[in-house]
């Protein structure tokens, strides 16, 4: 059965993460995506690490299910080809910079086209024309203040959060604009429009809870305020691995029994013992950072799995802190099918993260086509346009 975006035709003129992620999601949901690359290819083909004899795993993932062609903006006939493709498309996903003026929204004059432009800093304002990147926008949106130590070198979030947040917003904007479009004549839709998203704007939107917290708080504490200026949080270290836990649900005798079983009798003599009981642990605890050494002294005698089992049995919550290795072999990840096999052109199988939605009426196919080789669908796409 076709996915929810079956029949939607998308042209992508984008590189790296934000644009390609947007179009990947549309393709995963059933849209027909044609990716236009420059003669040198999408820059992310050459990002590290490189797979044996192939492109970067990030490129392979973010460009699955797409058809690919190469066009050179120094050639007028190639620009014309792009114009023709866009004129027939429902959606354009474009990186704003480096695009020939003829391919701007204003010049295309395509009545039914939803034209999504992605930029670093947004369409208005003094930085509208500045290119941007993850580290530049993570810094400018204050995101790097939630990592590292004050006064020490900045720390980025290691995932491409600005780009993927922007992509998630772009997908929303595209779908909303397609919904608002007039499709009463399916062959000639009208009411297309230009939509714009940016990395900077998306990062700021994601920190909204913090902005409200900073508006006029009754008091300064809790993980929306004091946590973000606290020192780095590495979780609660057990003998082998760190965990996260919370005692918020523990009632009655549960706490004393938990202390007994963890062999933490000594803590009862500690001046902070009452606080240990009421403040609990985890990011929400007001004195969590001060109390952490007490817990870690107790946990040092157990493996993470054991502490999780003990805390849970006493009515608390505890979770493992996975790295990608432990994540990818976790039974829950397997049960929900979060990692899928994608057969590559050379016959090898690559493992990738699955799309995040389950549509019961219009299910998304989990059988993916590999990312296109550079110019792989040149003839097929250009002959039919």
């Amino acid at each position: 059965m076709p996915g929810p975006l079956d029949g939607v035709r998308v042209v992508e003129i984008a590189e790296g993460v934000a644009g390609p992620y947007t179009a990947m999601s549309l393709a995963d949901a059933g849209a027909d995506v044609v990716k236009i690359e420059p003669p040198t290819g999408d820059r992310s083909r050459g990002w590290s690490p490189l797979m044996d004899g192939g492109d970067a795993p990030l490129f392979e993932t973010l460009n699955r299910n797409k058809r690919g062609i190469v066009l050179d903006w120094s050639s007028q006939s190639d620009v014309d080809s792009a114009r023709r493709l866009l004129a027939q498309a429902d959606v354009a996903v474009v990186d704003k910079f480096g695009l020939p003026p003829e391919l701007s929204w204003e010049r295309l004059n395509a009545a039914g086209l939803v034209y999504c432009a992605i930029s670093g800093f947004g369409p208005q304002g003094p930085w509208a024309d500045r290119p941007a990147s993850e580290i530049g926008t993570q810094m400018a949106s204050e995101a790097t203040s939630s990592l590292g130590n004050l006064g020490e070198p900045p720390v980025r979030h290691g995932s491409d959060i600005g780009s993927v947040f922007a992509a998630n917003n772009a997908i929303q904007a595209i779908c909303a604009a397609l919904y608002a479009r007039d499709d009463s004549d399916p062959a000639n839709p009208t009411g297309g429009q230009r939509v714009e998203v940016s990395l900077f704007g998306s990062l700021i939107a994601m920190r909204s809870t913090l902005w409200v917290a900073l508006s006029n708080p009754d008091e300064w504490w809790g993980f929306h305020l004091d946590s973000y200026v606290k020192p780095p949080d590495h979780g609660y270290q057990c003998r082998d691995l760190p965990i996260y836990f919370s005692l918020a649900r523990i009632r009655g005798r549960g706490f004393e029994s938990l202390i007994d079983e963890l062999g933490m009798d000594w803590a009862r003599e500690h001046p902070d013992y009452d606080r240990l009981r009421t403040d609990g642990a985890g990011g929400a605890g007001r004195y969590a950072a001060e109390l952490k050494p007490l817990w870690e002294r107790g946990f040092a005698h157990f493996d993470a799995d054991q502490v999780i089992e003990i805390v849970e049995r006493h009515g608390g919550w505890a979770f493992p802190m996975h790295d990608y290795e432990r994540l990818s072999s976790d039974p829950q990840v397997e049960a929900v099918g979060a990692i899928i096999d994608v057969e590559q052109a050379n016959g090898t199988v690559m493992r990738q993260v699955a799309p995040p939605w389950d549509f019961e009426g219009t299910p998304v196919s989990m059988t993916m086509r590999p990312a296109p080789r550079l110019g792989e669908h040149q003839a097929e796409v250009l002959e039919t346009s």
Partner: protein
């Protein structure tokens, strides 16, 4: 001018953050979002009581329930449940984020809602999924950050990985993904005429956010080790300290950018070993080479950056089309033209808590603009919404909904 979802109505049976964030987005896009709360709700439990508060109400509730109308309904009461079904007849979207089985117990499982309104886009959000050993476990942002490895790729160079200390990114990502799924469901209905049930979980949404990094691990078998401000896939792509101690973030992600970057460094006339030969030195031939010897390259560049003020580098790098940026704090962002002119950051009036700062709509639409307004009080629009329902009942032939248990 109405927003793109003008005319769409959402039955918003959501709590805490993930679900409410999704419906906040739909409301901003122009949908009429009706947010349901229990009539006797204790104000201290709103937004899960997440601190801090403003005038005693959690800022969580205030952030996550913008762009909505508030309705009191007690789904345990037969009268209110009937009202819920009448309201559901007028809705396009049903949104819930509770553990599997909770909706059915409240009389609003998919089969029950479908009996009232077969065209509904019914969207259920869970923490860990609807199957598997963890399906019944509680799920919130903190747990999802830790479980999905979101914490494992950040940290000071050479140090242990650390948690992103603003705990809302997986919640909000899942909310965004759920809003996306609702929109795709509405689009499919536009084509097929049929409603459907959709599910989105935090585990898969949180992993999808990390698609690139996870694919890198799955292909290489190598775990990413924290490396401060530096990117894993590209180099140079990190923060450098400029004259007077200011930090600048600079990213070079293509060979063409590398050549332009090398020219800026050479033209700066900064004196540092190797800084004039970046474009020709075979050590830096390709991105792959530069990533492999990232620290060595960074040391050369750092020696150059520290010789000129940040303003110099921002000017020269921007002119050369090299992406760059620098840290900006909230107090500055509040007055920063780039944040304000795009309305990314804005101050809105709320029903009961005065003016608050908030992120605004992250999209700009040329023809159907998004909107943004402050949070409603729980149940604030109960009278108005019930009046609308009564007026509709008086003018429609549609029979009153009947739902078996």
């Amino acid at each position: 001018m109405p927003g793109p979802l003008d005319g769409v109505r959402v039955f918003d049976l959501t709590l805490w953050m993930v679900g409410p964030w999704a419906s906040t987005q739909l409301g901003a896009l122009g949908a009429d979002v009706i947010h349901i709360e229990q009539p006797a709700v204790d104000p201290r439990t709103l937004g899960a009581g997440v601190p801090p508060t403003i005038d005693g109400t959690s800022i969580g509730y205030m952030t996550w329930n913008q762009n909505k109308r508030g309705l009191f309904l007690d789904l345990k009461s037969p009268t209110d449940r009937q009202t819920a079904y009448e309201l559901l007849q007028t809705c396009d979207v049903f949104l819930i984020n509770m553990r599997p089985g909770a909706a059915e117990r409240m009389g609003v499982g998919y089969e029950q809602v479908k009996a009232v309104n077969p065209d509904i886009i019914y969207t259920a959000i869970t923490g860990w999924g609807e199957v598997g050993p963890m399906r019944d476990r509680p799920g919130a942002d903190v747990q999802a950050q830790y479980f999905t490895g979101f914490w494992s790729v950040s940290g000071a160079e050479g140090g242990r990985p650390e948690v992103y200390r603003h705990m809302a990114q997986i919640d909000a990502t899942t909310g965004n993904v759920a809003a996306q799924a609702v929109l795709m469901g509405l689009l499919a209905r536009k084509r097929t005429g049929e409603g459907q049930r959709i599910h989105v979980g935090m585990l898969r949404a949180g992993m999808a956010l990390q698609s690139g990094r996870i694919a890198e691990y799955l292909s290489s078998g190598e775990l990413h080790q924290p490396q401060g401000s530096a990117a894993f896939a590209t180099a140079p792509d990190q923060a450098f300290q400029c004259q007077w101690g200011d930090w600048i973030g600079v990213s070079v992600s293509s060979e063409d950018e590398w050549r332009r970057f090398a020219a800026v460094m050479r033209e700066s006339e900064a004196e540092a070993e190797g800084i004039n030969d970046l474009a020709t030195d075979p050590r830096w031939n390709t991105n792959h080479d530069r990533v492999a010897r990232r620290s060595e390259l960074a040391a050369i560049l750092q020696a150059g950056f520290v010789q000129r003020p940040r303003h110099y580098w921002m000017l020269r790098l921007s002119a050369a089309g090299i992406p760059c940026g620098y840290p900006i704090s909230f107090e500055t962002l509040q007055h920063h033209a780039q944040a304000i002119e795009n309305q990314y950051l804005r101050e809105v009036e709320t029903s009961a808590w005065g003016k608050v700062w908030t992120g605004g709509a992250p999209w700009e639409f040329s023809d159907t603009p998004a909107r943004w307004f402050g949070a409603c009080l729980p149940g604030e629009h109960t009278g108005e919404i019930l009046d609308e329902l009564a007026a509709r009942k008086a003018t429609t032939d549609e029979p009153a909904p009947v739902v078996g248990d």
